[in-house]
Subunit: 132 residues, 4 copies
Amino acid sequence: MDHGFQVLRTHPQPPPPALLDCLRACLDCALACSACADACLVEKDPASLVACIRLDAECAAVCAATAHTLLRSGGPHDRAALHAQLAACAAVCAACEAECRRHAGHHQHCAHCAEACRACREACEAAMKARH
Amino acid sequence: MDHGFQVLRTHPQPPPPALLDCLRACLDCALACSACADACLVEKDPASLVACIRLDAECAAVCAATAHTLLRSGGPHDRAALHAQLAACAAVCAACEAECRRHAGHHQHCAHCAEACRACREACEAAMKARH
Amino acid sequence: MDHGFQVLRTHPQPPPPALLDCLRACLDCALACSACADACLVEKDPASLVACIRLDAECAAVCAATAHTLLRSGGPHDRAALHAQLAACAAVCAACEAECRRHAGHHQHCAHCAEACRACREACEAAMKARH
Amino acid sequence: MDHGFQVLRTHPQPPPPALLDCLRACLDCALACSACADACLVEKDPASLVACIRLDAECAAVCAATAHTLLRSGGPHDRAALHAQLAACAAVCAACEAECRRHAGHHQHCAHCAEACRACREACEAAMKARH
């Protein structure tokens, strides 16, 4: 993601540092969840992973939207809308992490996805506390 | 969107009716905001519409993610994550509606977009109150 | 999608009519495929529907991107890029339609999704032939 | 994107290496283009950057869809649809790179975005030639 972050560093109104870390975590979690959903689907028993696949898909979509919101957080922005989206992202990451943890002993991709969700939830919580 | 809603009607665990109305409003608002962002951009003085274009882009992304969440709301689902996403969607729709209203006298597309945002905010608020 | 299309009708450089029909078909197909993927997943035997779920997810993403491209087709635009995206959308719709047809006898949602894919493929082919 | 790529490395049917490099380039380019669109918008004279902003938005959407397709390229997949999407991605990257180059002397973010587009176009071309 080198070029992408170089664009952000040369943006006339770049996201503040605390939100940039959160943006990075959201993008990582969106990829982890999209990839975990597909990985679960091609496991031998996808029927046992339905809840995980659905939460992965939901979490990926919410993380991607949160990233879009954070991208535009450098100039004047609506604080209420940003906070509400960070709260929503933290909530879906918490739910997806809990579900992925249940399968982490059997599927390495679920263990990695749970870590992505934990990191993203923590980044959203930190971003909500940061000044911006 | 006839085929899409026919798929939803034959889904084994379709979203409950109150959430289906909200899904429809989210999809409409996502299109309205994406189209309004592009319309504002090609107006004669895009510099006066920067805040509108940014909120349109943010609102479109959040509405699309909310639609993804609502699509999967028919079976067991995480109520906290769904409610938080509906709250985030209502918040960004309120912000985008307010900004679009400021330009509604000059640009018809902003007037229509403001209506899409209002309808989507109301649908999100109704969905938060509905049983599901 | 009433508000969304009203925004497009009042856009200073609206997509030409042939491309507007295609945009509508892409949005319908994106919803149909997203909903069909989730419907297949909660059927009794999702393991038999893995190829369908993956193609649905891929087709939904490509149709959504094609819609974004078509939205911006009213003013000066890159014809080569637009044609290539329409060709890609027609190709994935053809693949998804074929897979959904295999399950259409057992699952009504696959029958409706196959119809969405067929309509979208035809709309993309018509858009490639139209002047714009 | 560490967690995300760890999920992909532990996916039971991971994308082949040549396509994994392309996936990485698509994700980078999607971020670069989204961020460049927003950066251009808040520059002093956005009216001079309208074509750049529109192509950035289109390129970001197409790169994101291509990434979704590549994610699912590890198992059996439709080669025609994948190739067509890679071709579409290369085409929009070429168009966006050319437009960004025109502004690269004035705006560093356009220079970085042009590099992201070049890298992504090359990765798509390499992926089309690779066996998969």
